[in-house]
Symmetry: C2
Subunit: 477 residues, 2 copies
């Protein structure tokens, strides 16, 4: 199955001209209904054919008793039929000249049952003979807003250049939902499940050359084709940032991965080495994956490691310095030139203020941490910045909402105008005060709408930035 | 200054019978107003005396031109006067027989100015001569809801047994706010600032014996009195869980810490060793600190390391297994006895389902992950459990709100009824769908109101549980 078709071959998978759903269902709580709703809501522009022998219409669309009865050409078939019905469906796909069959259908090799694994292999062989490429089985398939494709009706409709490959379906949904809330606009997302025919390696090769794709994320438990995966990874990482979350690193995780997607998961150290050698950035959990994708998609790569840090009180300053230095940054002391600029505007601060800038000593001085951030970003003293919003400080003051919005608006303007990357830290909204929660959510949404990279803690911001600097240095070397 | 008074000496600090605020201000955006509001809102039961030579009333309370004019006895004075005015205030405290002077007043040694440092030392000597104990300077002081004390008007009024010592004021506010949202009810919280007289070591000795205190958290950058701190730590950790976040670990962090609270911060490894030898649990950042405090306060210590994990789809199962094993747990395969119970109710799952329990294979089987959690907690197969809510799965289904609330209600009941600790994982509400955000917030608040420990990721839950198991094993050894 290790084939590498020239890259345009998969274009039609992501932009089919027509889609049929085999096993389409009138039950609104079933995948056979969800796919139809999902594709309709994404505004799929071609014909959609529900296949259902017992219904005239499904989800408001005219249904057909069999794939063979569908009047026009079908590029992509999504299968929700049970496993034993798949061989017949493959035959129909062959007769109909279908190019891609996505098997949402599961209960194959991932169950650990030998008979189910044999059926899976038989399907692979027959589909290859008929020229039908298979995505899956046991995967949710395709989410590609620009192509009108989605695997769940409630997913966002924004279009962008962030691609994501995921062995796990629920993980794909989590990453899309959470990533979108943090400003990631997705392009091609594939939950390839058992990876029987179309492998993550082949998908990576395709995405490497895909002009729509600017950043690639991946979640793998194991890979069906190790060499192909490595080569795909290397090809992609040479052209754009590639971030991989490898799960199933431990004995227990590998055992669980085996029953999840029939993948043989390997050891942690081996995988870290392979990823590094291929030029990919490794994430150890979903939070890191998201932070790295946000950083890669929304921030320019910094030119160096000299970091300016502002905002938050004294405690946050100390914690920020720790986080920055532990992730490889140089917390360069405030240079003389900046100090003299401070002296002009707030003389009593000039010999006290440092980097990180402790917001609590600025009160009443005439200089805010935004003001200091602007001074520090001017000239060539720093390569990048982290700005802590320090929202808890505002909540202790009168007119908290107005002050917080004003400060964040100015920070967003500074970050957007700077040629250097500026990461914003705005904490998770952990408070019992519902007004404060709503306010922080509103402010975060505003940053995100303006394309600013927001992180929930300074440690997570510093980690992501540190890895991205490392990757940029490796690419330059 | 290394004195260890017998522990009852500090009782009056936390439960003063009367409080005066020197530097009380009619400006609602000033600390001299905040302290009065904060104490009033916490329902302080004794007299509160604003000291202000120019106003008749401050914050609705009768003001006095000088501490000497106050009619009754004053146990605690909170100072918001500028540094140069403190020596006179100390004299007044002596005359008036004041027991504790909390210096919110800053701009002493933390500025790096030699003259300011000399003034600080002179104040310490004179106060000692007069028998006035000093808290601070450069610290927000006391938050103790049961004693009617608080340093900010907007902090929660719940009373509980979680003590917290913090060198940083903004860090104390963040930990109180975030901790409270996660179910921590605080007892004695102290932001001791420069720790000139009352040191964290003395406070730890006091909290070790304090019957109100069940769990102790701490945030330190450096300590004014190393040996006293170590001894306090050891005394406290022998009696209750003590979690310490040491910041200023790096060169940059230490430099920043020095200007923040005049503390000499040391090296990371040395501190880790000292904390471990003293029996404390180390947190490396605020998230870890909160997770460990939540675990210590809301969960029983597990009897062993055999962990049951349920909920979420296949991807989450694999990630959960990784997180558990990487934090020292044994992800024990589903025992025969449980498998046979599954066979009775869902025969086709019996040979497929494992630990972690993949929620996505349960659909339509008649068994939910809650059902499996109950079966796994029965008998002696497991010592503790992590339950992933897997909220994203619900959002893809009809009646998501009802189903999610029902499942979480049942999970809360199982966790509350079990003699084994059950940690719940409910993700951060990262979605652009505001209804979903509100729903997750509501469900989380319900868990918290029922005393359940909720973590925002399975990695954070596993980390906290792993460290707490380790600490429990050390205490038993």
């Amino acid at each position: 199955m290790t084939r590498f078709p020239s890259t345009p071959d998969l274009d039609l998978l992501f932009r089919p001209r027509s889609v049929a759903v085999a096993g389409a269902s009138t039950n609104v709580d079933s995948p056979g209904h969800d796919y139809l709703e999902a594709i309709k809501r994404q505004g799929f522009s071609g014909p959609i054919y529900p296949i259902n022998p017992k219904a005239d219409t499904v989800a408001g669309l005219r249904a057909y008793p069999s794939l063979r009865e569908v009047p026009g050409q079908v590029d992509l078939v999504i299968s929700c039929v049970p496993a034993p019905a798949v061989p017949e469906l493959v035959e129909h796909c062959g007769e109909k000249g279908v190019r891609f069959l996505h098997l949402f259908t599961g209960r194959f090799s991932e169950t650990g049952d030998a008979e189910a694994a044999r059926l899976e292999q038989a399907i692979a062989r027959r589909a290859a003979e008929l020229g039908v490429r298979i995505l899956g089985p046991n995967g949710m398939g395709l989410y590609h807003p620009a192509g009108g494709l989605s695997f769940r009706p409630d997913l966002p409709t924004d279009r962008g250049g962030v691609a994501f490959l995921s062995q796990s379906g629920n993980n794909a949904v989590e990453v899309i939902t959470r990533g979108n809330a943090r400003g990631l606009a997705f392009g091609k997302v594939v939950n390839y499940g058992n990876g029987l025919d179309i492998t993550p390696g082949e998908l990576l090769r395709y995405l490497a050359d895909d002009p729509e794709t600017t950043v690639i994320g991946g979640y793998v438990e194991g890979v069906p084709d190790g060499r192909g995966f490595y080569e795909g990874l290397r090809a992609a990482a040479a052209r754009k940032p590639v971030i991989i979350h490898k799960a199933g690193r431990t004995r227990a995780g590998a055992r669980s991965a085996a029953s999840h997607t029939a993948a043989l998961a390997g050891q942690a150290e081996l995988w870290s080495t392979v990823l590094r050698q291929a030029g990919a950035i490794e994430a150890r959990n979903q939070d890191q994956l998201l932070d790295l994708m946000v950083g890669a998609a929304l921030l320019r790569p910094p030119a160096g490691r000299r970091i300016a840090i502002v905002g938050g009180g004294g405690g946050r300053s100390v914690q920020s310095a720790d986080a920055a230095e532990e992730n490889g940054f140089e917390v360069v002391p405030l240079p003389h030139a900046v100090r003299e600029r401070v002296r002009e505007r707030a003389p009593m601060l000039a010999d006290w203020v440092g980097n990180p800038v402790d917001q609590s000593i600025l009160a009443g001085s005439g200089l805010s941490s935004n003001g200091l951030l602007e001074l520090m970003l001017e000239g060539d003293h720093y390569d990048l910045a982290i700005a802590n919003v320090g929202e808890d400080w505002f909540f202790g003051r009168p007119d908290a909402a107005d002050r917080l919005k004003h400060a964040c608006g100015r920070l967003a303007a500074i970050a957007a105008a700077s040629t250097k990357p500026v990461a914003v830290v705005l904490g998770p909204t952990e408070t019992r005060n519902r007004d404060h929660r709503a306010l922080v959510d509103e402010v975060r949404d505003d940053f995100v709408a303006r394309g600013i990279a927001v992180f929930p803690s300074v440690e997570r911001a510093a980690f992501a930035l540190g890895r991205l600097v490392q990757a940029a240095e490796r690419r330059r070397a």
